[in-house]
């Protein structure tokens, strides 16, 4: 399994990362080296093994459905690069 420039362009699009041509070229080589290192894992016999998504047993934690204070609107907007009328302001969303 090897990683091509086309793969990289597809994946970087999914990740919303604009990469320069130089970055793309360098990254293909690096990523193939990383993928190569996964080869040993591919050869392990993992049939019949359950997956572990968390290292300890996690379970849903419940609380009473009572309202609580969170961040105020002002606090939530305090770091906004741009805001208007209590909303985060961004460039055009629908293209």
């Amino acid at each position: 399994m090897s990683f091509t420039l086309e793969d990289l362009k597809t994946v970087s699009n999914l990740a919303r990362l604009d990469l320069s041509d130089e970055e793309l070229a360098q990254m293909v080589g690096n990523l193939n080296k990383v993928l190569e290192s996964f080869r040993g894992l591919q050869q392990l016999d993992l049939s019949g093994i359950e997956i572990t998504a968390h290292s300890v047993d996690t379970h849903s934690v419940w609380r009473e459905d009572e309202p609580r204070n969170g961040l105020s609107r002002a606090e939530a907007l305090s770091a906004a690069p741009a805001s208007h009328a209590g909303l985060f302001l961004v460039p055009r969303i629908i293209e």
């Binding site: 597809t10 990362l17 990254m27 392990l44 093994i49 934690v61």
Partner: protein, 472 residues
């Protein structure tokens, strides 16, 4: 310091000032800190001193500390060493910052790290690398290199870092100090800026095991804001008593050619000293250790690709104007993230993408089960496992540039404890060529008291660590 403060021979303000003075004198060279909080430190020291004068005491009251800059501090710039968060002031405090404030500890500043905690050398900081106080041309380790260097250089007696694949233990080893990672779920991750949510844990650095225990105890405990926490028992009395005759296993997979010969030699010396002191030490085999790095480098980037999706220029951080929101997000992420972060996001997105999910991500989680099962089977027979913390001593800054796997192998010995959620600690085991070497102990989940008690025994036989010449 506790005795001096309680006896009122030294005030919390004097202690804070002495550390701040040392930071301003040494840090232009070491560069452990991203931000030094002189005014806040003195204010907190004043408040702590009032509590001391009223007869209050606890291990951390009036004690200065440093916090890795991926833990949010309300109103104090928190950057994760990334340009994408440069200038960001969080509107809330992390639980660990709040707990330390409640204990009356005094925040000296925020320390440097590899960007978003991704790295093993602090070279990937978006701002500048930190230098190892033992040899300024070498790395302090990472990703919590700033915190490790701060403690090693005497700039802070205690610091906190985060450990996802070894990022507290490995820099502790390279800087010759104690570094500990708790069981997953012992310390709240609320306000720890997420890298890999099933692996991240906050852990302390200190110059000796006892101080690390106090720091851990002040930070641990269930928090309703973090629902992955576990309310498991912990016995502080056992933790503070050196163990008598622990049974310890040494995996053969970490005493082979993958480990620098000088590191192996110091491990053998430590094993002999511990045996002479009554420990029963046997060689064991844990084959899954050899698959730790590849398992980790599928899981951690996958989780990171999800966690770092939030950095899009909309609500906080870097903003670059563009015609559309989508274009803005791409430009922000391109300009704001460093190379290593981008690569890990790409790897993570790839292994999660349609057509590759089972080949990589599912397989890695099954490997994780196998790793955990093998370790748990060992813990049914042994009190602890002993491993080197790092395969090598501190390497030179820039030594592994251009080799994407070389740095990742630095985590070979530390990754298994993260994958299994086990508590682990690194203590100093001696010096090779003037550079510190760390010894790592790993225990079963929620056995912090056993881990600490064996670490106290090991520390007593290995001798007190030295301070680097920089500060003597």
């Amino acid at each position: 310091m506790r005795e001096l403060l309680d006896a009122k021979k030294v005030s919390a303000q004097e202690l804070a000032k002495a550390h701040l003075e040392r930071i301003h004198r040494l840090d232009p060279t070491v560069r452990a800190f991203l931000k030094v909080c002189d005014e806040i430190a003195l204010k907190q020291a004043g408040a702590a001193q009032e509590r001391i004068m009223q007869g209050e005491t606890n291990p951390l009251l009036g004690i200065p500390f440093a916090l890795k800059d991926n833990m949010v501090t309300q109103g104090i710039e928190t950057t994760c060493a990334s340009k994408i968060l440069e200038g960001w002031k969080p509107p809330y405090d992390s639980t660990v910052a709040l707990r330390l404030a409640q204990h009356g500890a005094v925040l000296l500043g925020k320390t440097n790290l590899d960007e978003f905690a991704m790295g093993s050398s602090t070279e990937f900081s978006g701002f500048f690398p930190t230098r190892n106080p033992w040899d300024l041309a070498r790395v302090p380790g990472g990703s919590s290199g700033g915190s490790a260097a701060a403690v090693a250089a005497g700039m802070a007696p205690i610091a906190f870092g985060s450990d996802t694949g070894g990022s507290v233990r490995q820099p502790a080893a390279l800087c010759g100090v104690v570094g500990m990672k708790p069981t997953y779920g012992r310390v709240s991750r609320f306000g720890l800026i997420a890298f890999s949510s099933s692996l991240d844990q906050i852990g302390p650095f200190a110059r000796n095991v006892r101080d690390a225990i106090w720091a851990y105890e002040a930070s641990a405990g269930v928090d309703p804001n973090d629902s992955t926490m576990q309310d498991a028992p912990y016995d502080s009395q056992i933790a503070h008593r050196p163990a008598k005759a622990p049974k310890i296993g040494v995996p053969e997979q970490v005493m082979n050619e993958k480990i620098q010969p000088e590191v192996r030699a110091l491990m053998q010396n430590a094993i002999k000293s511990l045996s002479d002191a009554g420990a029963v030490i046997e060689q064991v085999s844990l084959p899954m250790i050899e698959h730790g790095v590849s398992t980790y480098y599928i899981i951690a980037p996958a989780e990171a690709s999800s966690n770092l999706a939030r950095y899009d220029g909309v609500r906080y951080g870097l903003r670059i104007e563009a015609e559309s929101a989508s274009e803005m997000m791409r430009r922000v992420r391109e300009a704001g993230f460093g190379k290593e972060v981008k690569e890990r996001i790409i790897i993570g997105t790839y292994v999660l993408s349609s057509g590759y999910y089972d080949a990589f991500y599912t397989k890695a989680h099954k490997a994780r089960t196998l790793m955990k099962t093998q370790f748990r089977e060992m813990f049914s027979r042994y009190d602890a496992l002993l491993l080197p913390t790092s395969p090598t001593t501190a390497f030179k800054i820039g030594e592994f540039a251009g080799d994407p796997m070389a740095l990742k192998i630095a985590d070979y010995c530390t990754i298994p404890a993260n994958l299994g959620g086990f508590p682990a600690i690194s203590i100093n085991a001696g010096y090779s060529g003037g550079l510190p070497v760390g010894l790592q102990l790993v225990c079963d989940s929620f056995c912090e008291q056993t881990l600490f008690s064996i670490a106290l025994l090991a520390e007593s036989v290995l001798g007190a660590p030295k301070m680097p010449e920089l500060v003597t």
